[in-house]
């Protein structure tokens, strides 16, 4: 069973998404801020990471930068999930920060459940 670490400060979103991913046979570990997320990722060594961007303690971009600079973790496919303004996300982040954080995929929140599952499965199939 593939393991996913989902990091998002919105508890409701986390729980609903956990149900969704579990129904597709994923094991889901939740974390509610960036720092906790990084700890869980280091402990769990998951097959995939989903990171919200705006979080307390440490934001998703920064978590991703650290992940991708760590030889032990950088191969884990990482999806950035963000509710920041659509246009800002596209122009500002995917082009500048995005390239630099080297995340493997970006999803703008809100996301349809089918779309999220599709993107997760696509990233895992690449291996």
């Amino acid at each position: 069973m593939k393991k996913v670490v989902l990091v998002d400060d919105d508890v409701d979103f986390c729980e609903a998404t956990k149900l969704l991913l579990e129904s597709k046979d994923f094991e889901v570990v939740l974390a509610y801020d960036g720092r906790e997320g990084l700890e869980k990722i280091r402990d769990e060594q998951p097959d995939l990471v989903i990171l919200d961007v705006m979080m307390p303690e440490m934001n998703g971009y920064d978590v991703c930068v650290v992940l991708k600079a760590d030889p032990a973790l950088k191969e884990i496919p990482t999806i950035l999930l963000t509710a920041v303004d659509r246009e800002m996300f596209q122009t500002h982040y995917t082009q500048h920060m995005g390239l630099m954080t080297e995340a493997d995929d970006y999803i703008a929140k809100p996301v349809e459940s089918t779309e999220l599952v599709k993107r997760v499965e696509e990233l895992l199939d690449k291996d």
Binding site: L19, M88, P110
Partner: protein, 496 residues
């Protein structure tokens, strides 16, 4: 697209036919070519402008002072020119030339293919050698030299009220001022040489250093004024990290300034960007709502009765309507502030459209609507704002899907139109009456009929489309017949 820089090539050959042939072949590929008919002439060119020759194509059958002597002379002078020789049959003399330092030999009876096989290898070798040189320089530029560069500089740095910390390109500390030692309670001797993340116990800080060193000029500008606040070792500091570059422009380290804001009210640090705050505060809960409803609808939280499924389905549609509304208001506000174009860049419209169509495919499928993109093979090049162009596509396609009954068709096409590009979105939907058509681009205008009552929307989508299209110097118009569908036509100017 990445443009490969051209290479400066000097052809040294006294046989005019061969010289011309080489010259034409090289010029055709966009390289800069100079010619010399003798070794003396070649040396003259190289000595006058040593940096102006990258590769030399040298005949080994020159009269007088031979080609081999020239190779040896250049080698002695530690010249960086890559030498490719030419001779009738690349025999003994070619081997001797290679011993002297030449890269390879081309037979003078070459075919175009043969010529390029060898030349391309030489060009590639030159480029690799060149890159290697840059890398070596970069590594050798030891930042620690700063330390020896006199006490004056250090006294200046120590007078800063802000803490200053410099690392090498591997984020090991090479320099810190007194304020830094005091603020973080560090012993300078012990701090030097240790990784900054370990020293200051902050992964977050590490991310700023990595980011600063990977950044280019654009990013530095983009980040200007964005100074993150972090907590480390019971201090709250505002951090600013910049890359340190050597004279050649290569990044050799990073310099960080820390301003102690431990006592400043934490609320100050919230992002002041109103748009992203509104967006985040509204979209986060909506996002949870959408996910929760979807999960319940999928039966993942227990069986549902048909009535519950029906009502939740409607709740889901309303939620999605709210999301569109938030997006539209943000788009519209941006338009009003003249910010609909944030960054002009070369865009591959075909690719942007493909991507948008894929995003919309789900909602088309849900309504059983056939959504087909038709993109012409060769489109004029276009420059514009990616987010804006995507907003045009998203709005027009989602409208077409919304106002087309189940089982209908939506065709999206991109074609050449003179020097520009024409986007057409054709649907088989309910159509727009003549009275309404004049007002659909007005803000908050929504057509109210029996058929549109259940369709949600903000009435902003089309005024956004019009605003963005016009900001790109284009025009949008619409043709429609009630009951027979609608066609939106957007004309965008090509580049240049």
């Amino acid at each position: 697209m990445l443009v490969t820089p051209s290479i400066n090539i000097l052809v040294v050959e006294n046989d005019i036919t061969i010289m011309q042939k080489c010259r034409e072949l090289l010029l055709d590929e966009g390289h800069r070519v100079r010619t010399a008919e003798s070794v003396e002439e070649a040396l003259d060119i190289i000595q006058k402008q040593p940096g102006d020759v990258d590769i030399m194509l040298l005949s080994l059958e020159l009269p007088g002072w031979g080609g081999i002597t020239l190779i040896e002379t250049l080698q002695k002078a530690r010249s960086e020119i890559l030498i490719m020789t030419m001779s009738a049959n690349c025999g003994e003399e070619a081997i001797e030339a290679m011993h002297a330092g030449a890269y390879d030999c081309i037979r003078k009876s070459f075919t175009t293919d043969r010529f390029w096989t060898k030349m391309n290898r030489a060009i590639e070798a030159f480029r690799l050698r060149h890159q290697l040189d840059i890398l070596t320089q970069q590594r050798q530029a030891a930042l620690s030299r700063v330390h020896q560069d006199g006490q004056t500089l250090l006294s200046v740095l120590n007078s800063f009220t802000d803490a200053l910390l410099v690392t090498d390109w591997q984020t090991n500390v090479v320099l810190l001022n007194d304020t830094a030692s005091r603020l973080f309670n560090l012993n300078e001797e012990k701090a030097i040489g240790r990784p900054v993340s370990v020293l200051l116990e902050s992964d977050e800080l590490l991310s700023f250093f990595i980011r600063a060193m990977k950044s280019d000029g654009d990013l530095a500008k983009l980040m200007a004024g964005e100074e993150p606040v972090i907590k480390t070792r019971d201090k709250t500091v505002r951090v600013h990290v910049d890359p340190v570059k050597n004279k050649a422009g290569a990044v050799i380290g990073a310099v960080a300034l820390f301003h102690d804001v431990t006592r400043v009210d934490a609320m100050d640090h919230l992002r002041a960007d109103f748009l992203s705050m509104v967006s985040h505060e509204l979209k986060s809960p909506l996002s949870s709502l959408l996910m929760q409803i979807s999960v319940i609808l999928d039966g993942l939280a227990g069986e549902l009765s048909p009535k519950q499924t029906d009502m939740l389905g409607k709740a889901k549609e309303k939620t999605k309507g709210m999301i569109t509304l938030v997006n539209d208001i943000l788009d519209y506000r941006r338009l009003k502030e003249g910010k609909s174009i944030q960054k002009i860049e070369a865009l591959n419209l075909a690719e942007v459209l493909q991507h948008t169509v894929e995003l919309m495919r789900l909602s088309a499928d849900e309504k059983g609507i056939e959504l087909t993109p038709e993109i012409a093979e060769e489109l004029p090049s276009f420059s514009g704002d990616r987010g804006g162009v995507e907003a045009i596509f998203v709005n027009l396609i989602s409208n077409a899907i919304k106002y087309t009954p189940k089982g209908g068709k939506v065709k999206v096409s991109l074609n050449k139109e003179g020097k520009g590009i024409r986007l057409m979105v054709v649907d088989t939907g309910i159509g727009i009456s003549e009275e309404d058509i004049e007002q659909i681009f007005e803000k908050f205008y929504r057509i109210k009929t029996e058929q549109t009552r259940r369709i949600s929307g903000s009435g902003l989508g089309l005024s956004i489309v019009k605003g963005i299209v016009e900001a790109h110097g284009g025009a949008v118009h619409v043709e429609s017949e009630v009951g027979n569908g609608t066609t939106f036509i957007v004309s965008l100017p090509g580049k240049g």
